[in-house]
């Protein structure tokens, strides 16, 4: 079965990371590894970042030295909230069902 868990969705992981404040690429990789235990590759990171920026969920900030930080947009925050609420409902139901067995 394909892994559909949040940890297999780089876009969601990046949104969660940026919800903690603006970050550049390397900082996002470290943050995701820290909170989700997932080591994203650079190709995966920038593929997901490209999609999120095209969808208007994140935006690039001016360069800081050679690094470009990104931050969550209002639309990104709303999308993240919606995704997490959906996951939270599924998790609650799942835990309740597992607990009742």
């Amino acid at each position: 079965m394909a892994d559909r868990s949040p940890s297999s969705d780089p876009g969601l992981l990046l949104l969660i990371s940026l919800a903690g404040g603006p970050k550049h690429g390397h900082a996002m990789l470290l943050d995701v590894a820290a909170f989700a235990g997932v080591r994203l590759g650079p190709g995966t990171l920038y593929g997901a970042l490209t999609r999120l920026e095209e969808d208007g969920l994140v935006e690039a900030l001016p360069l800081e030295g050679r690094r470009r930080p990104y931050r969550l947009t209002d639309a990104g925050l709303a999308a993240l909230r919606g995704r997490l609420s959906g996951l939270n409902a599924a998790i609650s139901i799942g835990l309740a069902r597992v607990g009742s067995r």
Binding site: H24, G25, H26, L29, G41, P42, G43, T44, L45, Y46, G47, L49, T50, R66, R67, R68
Partner: protein, 194 residues
């Protein structure tokens, strides 16, 4: 590892190339990173391809869209048909000049090719024979639109033909070449049987 960045779409590289390049300086060069970069490049190319193709496939009003891929790409079908039929067309043309019109010197010039063909695997013969008919189908199918619908309880079949110069030329050539080849094979079969 930065060489892999050359595989990324150029428009993408202009926007993100420097950032990714800087990031790579901070990461260890591992096989996993290399594979991830290659996969990223492939995905971006796929996305760029589908972004280009999708608007053409989406109907934007007007008459109903043709249904099968050959109808959507009649010119491409005709060009593929040309490629398939070309070896047979060349072979038939040269044979016609050498053995029907008996142009001086042509038979001697062509003989090594004929000898080579005699010794070639059977599949080569079969391809040369089948090519005009396959090419005919490829050139013709994009010109035919067959539509079946049920109107007031009865089945209605509508046949629509369209004329496209390139396809018509290719199918005419296929008819001539295929006809010549078929008549030649038939004559051999009828008159050279023991």
């Amino acid at each position: 590892m930065k060489r892999i960045l050359r595989l990324y779409p150029s428009a993408w590289r202009r926007r993100y190339g420097d950032e990714l390049s800087d990031l790579l300086e901070e990461l260890p060069a591992t096989p996993a990173t290399t594979v991830d970069l290659l996969r990223g490049a492939a995905r971006l190319h796929m996305r760029a391809f589908f972004d280009r193709v999708a608007p053409r496939l989406a109907p934007a009003g007007g008459p109903p869209m043709p249904t099968h891929p050959l109808q959507r790409h009649p010119t491409a079908s005709a060009l593929v048909a040309v490629l398939i039929a070309a070896p047979t067309a060349v072979f038939v043309s040269l044979s016609f000049l050498a053995y029907q019109l008996e142009l001086p010197g042509m038979q001697a010039w062509l003989q090594p090719f004929m000898d080579g063909l005699q010794q070639a695997p059977r599949i080569v013969d079969l391809f040369l024979l089948a090519a005009p008919f396959l090419a005919f189908l490829l050139a013709t199918l994009p010109l035919i639109g067959l539509r079946m619908e049920r109107v007031d309880g009865e089945l209605r079949v509508t046949l629509a033909l369209r004329a496209r110069t390139l396809n018509l030329i290719v199918l005419a050539v296929c008819v001539v070449v295929g006809g010549f080849l078929a008549s030649h094979v038939l004559a051999e079969f009828l008159f050279e049987q023991p």
